[in-house]
């Protein structure tokens, strides 16, 4: 006689109710999985972009809580940065989010210092690279090409200026695949920000240790007021969108868990109240109240575990679906790490245990003779 088997049979005997509860839990878990995967994926994608570029430190004017770096004149700080120990290269970058087509959502337009290491990790799959800082051409990522339906030789209008697409590239980072890249000088001209960048990328030599990195950070803070040097990971985690999406995923986890536990609580309470006599029989047959608790908790945990498994699959499908929606293309790169999915499964089981706890204790306290008198 297997307790789990018995618990399973008890669930299947009310298929409608079990299905309903299961769907509620599955939906909650799916929301958790999708939102969290998107939030993490977003962060990871940015991280990947910076890592792929080979940037060790980023110097920027991190101003307020809800904004990204404001533009500043690169030459005002570049010479000072180059003097810092271990700093090999200091490369300017200007990024903007612009509408370049009325049919497509706003896209990233990056101005990268010509001939810098930033370009090295990109893989050209068609056309050519810009030939000089003055070469007023665009190279676009594969995803951007798809979204804008542009190929080499077409023109794209950026801020009212039509520029030819010189080539199409591929990057390991989704953000870059969805972006348009020009020589820095061109973006500065297009957006009327002569000499300005909003990020300086620092590449350190191979001998730089974490203490050296910490030292550089401290130096920047001390000698360049208004500027901060941060690692790409720190920049990404301070990004407003990353923070908002993480906060949203946390809120979803909280709300969905609460709702899930309440749904299970309600279902189990209903279930035990209509099985009062049966529980009385179990007690009369010599079941320890502890065994009754185990039975009820097994039932609720099974319910949420199944809901969790369905929810995870649903959440993965949902994320993949969202990734393919036109509006979201190139902005979502869901990240499903096995530890996270395991944690979600763990969460589902915990929900079952929490939601089933009170009903289980209530069942275990059933007065057997009273319960048996019920018809």
């Amino acid at each position: 006689m297997n307790l789990l088997r018995f618990a399973f049979d008890n669930l299947t005997r009310r298929p409608a109710r079990t299905t309903l509860t299961l769907s509620a839990i599955a939906l909650g878990i799916a929301a958790i999985v999708a939102l969290t995967a998107i939030a993490w994926g977003f962060e990871a994608s940015w991280q990947k972009a910076n890592d792929a570029r080979g940037t060790d430190l980023i110097v920027t004017k991190l101003a307020s809580e809800n904004t990204m770096p404001s533009p500043f004149v690169a030459e005002k700080v570049r010479p000072d940065l180059l003097k810092l120990p271990h700093v090999q290269e200091v490369v300017g970058l200007l990024s903007e989010m612009l509408t370049v087509s009325y049919d497509a959502p706003p896209m990233f337009v990056f101005g990268w210092q010509f001939d810098s290491y930033l370009w090295d990790h990109l893989q050209l799959i068609d056309g050519r690279w810009p030939q000089s800082p003055d070469d007023a051409v665009i190279v676009i990522g594969t995803l951007a090409a798809e979204l804008l339906q542009k190929k080499t030789g077409d023109t794209i209008e950026i801020e009212g200026v039509a520029l030819p697409v010189a080539g199409i590239f591929q990057s390991s980072a989704l953000v870059e695949n969805g972006a348009l890249i020009l020589p820095l000088l061109q973006v500065q001209q297009l957006t009327d920000k002569p000499g300005k960048v909003n990020v300086l990328n620092l590449q350190l030599d191979a001998s730089a240790t974490t203490t050296d990195v910490a030292h550089i950070k401290a130096q920047v803070r001390a000698t360049l007021p208004g500027f901060v040097a941060i690692t790409s990971g720190e920049l990404v985690s301070q990004n407003a969108v990353v923070r908002i999406s993480k906060a949203m995923s946390n809120a979803t986890i909280l709300i969905a868990s609460l709702v899930g536990a309440l749904v299970v609580f309600n279902t189990m309470l209903m279930s035990i109240s209509e099985r009062t006599r049966e529980i009385g029989v179990l007690l009369a047959l010599g079941w320890h109240p502890r065994t009754v608790i185990k039975l009820i908790i097994s039932e609720s945990a099974m319910l949420t575990l199944a809901g969790g498994i369905i929810g995870i699959l649903l959440g993965i499908l949902l994320t993949i679906g969202l990734e393919h929606i036109e509006l979201m293309r190139g902005k979502i790169d869901g990240l499903f790490s096995p530890p996270f999915l395991l944690a979600v499964l763990g969460l589902s089981i915990i929900l079952g245990i929490l939601g089933g706890l009170y009903p289980a204790i209530k069942a275990a306290r059933t007065h057997p003779s009273q319960a048996l008198r019920q018809e």
Partner: protein
């Protein structure tokens, strides 16, 4: 009225169950389900408890089976007071087997599953399934192992319930109107099974019944009225 069964006269005269001035009150004493019951039941005895409806038969059975707690007085199992028992569920599991009028089988479990219920959570019980199959075979239910209660006749259901009561080799069987829901043919079959098992396993049986013919199958008949025992084996008390 009836000679004592050979078993009880031969084995021992020490009571397996006894009570002293047992009472059970409900509704803050307004209902007196039991009102001073003194009883001694010898190991191996087959006792029928009779009496009008509401006289306290089921109440007495519930107290013996620890499904209820006495309001006052004391019960003894092999001279040990119930009040000194630390684990009532263990006592029920190991020493008592219940048989109810309405069978109380679990509808989601098969015959075998129902019989095995009392073995759940019983440490070190490895041959439960073998015991259950053997028991069901003895009751002529070997072809019904995988049937659900809804697929069985009333008589079959009650035999499954009896098998379930016997699975842990209890000392006492407490049967509350076991034939109450059965026709006379099935009733007599079930009583045969109880009598048969009692002899095989040296069980003490306490059986509540309305039916004088059923009571007649027992060694001893206790008649109750208003929460008291009024006659014991025909002797007025």
């Amino acid at each position: 009225m009836k000679p004592l069964s050979p078993i009880c006269s031969v084995t021992t005269s020490t009571p397996v169950l006894s009570s002293r001035n047992l009472t059970l009150h409900f509704d803050q004493g307004r209902t007196k389900a039991l009102n001073g019951v003194d009883i001694e039941i010898i190991e191996g005895e087959f006792v029928a408890v009779t009496g009008p409806s509401g006289c306290g038969k089921s109440s007495l059975l519930n107290l013996i089976g620890t499904l209820d707690q006495a309001s006052s007085g004391e019960l003894f199992f092999r001279q040990q007071p119930y009040s000194s028992m630390t684990d009532l569920s263990e006592f029920r599991r190991e020493q008592v087997g219940f048989v109810f009028q309405s069978f109380h089988l679990i509808p989601t479990l098969t015959t075998l599953g129902n019989v095995l219920l009392p073995t759940v959570g019983r440490a070190g019980d490895h041959n439960a399934t073998a015991r259950a199959t053997a028991l069901l075979q003895q009751m002529g239910l070997e072809s019904r192992l995988d049937h659900f209660p809804s697929q069985l006749s009333g008589g079959e259901r009650q035999r499954v319930a009896i098998a379930r009561a016997l699975i842990n080799d209890p000392t006492i069987i407490l049967a509350d109107e076991p034939t109450g829901s059965l026709d006379s043919e099935n009733a007599s079959h079930v009583l045969d099974v109880i009598a048969n098992m009692r002899l095989r396993k040296s069980l003490t049986v306490v059986m509540v019944t309305h039916d004088p013919n059923v009571a007649a199958r027992a060694d001893r008949e206790i008649c109750m009225r208003d929460g008291k025992i009024v006659t014991d084996n025909g002797v007025n008390l």
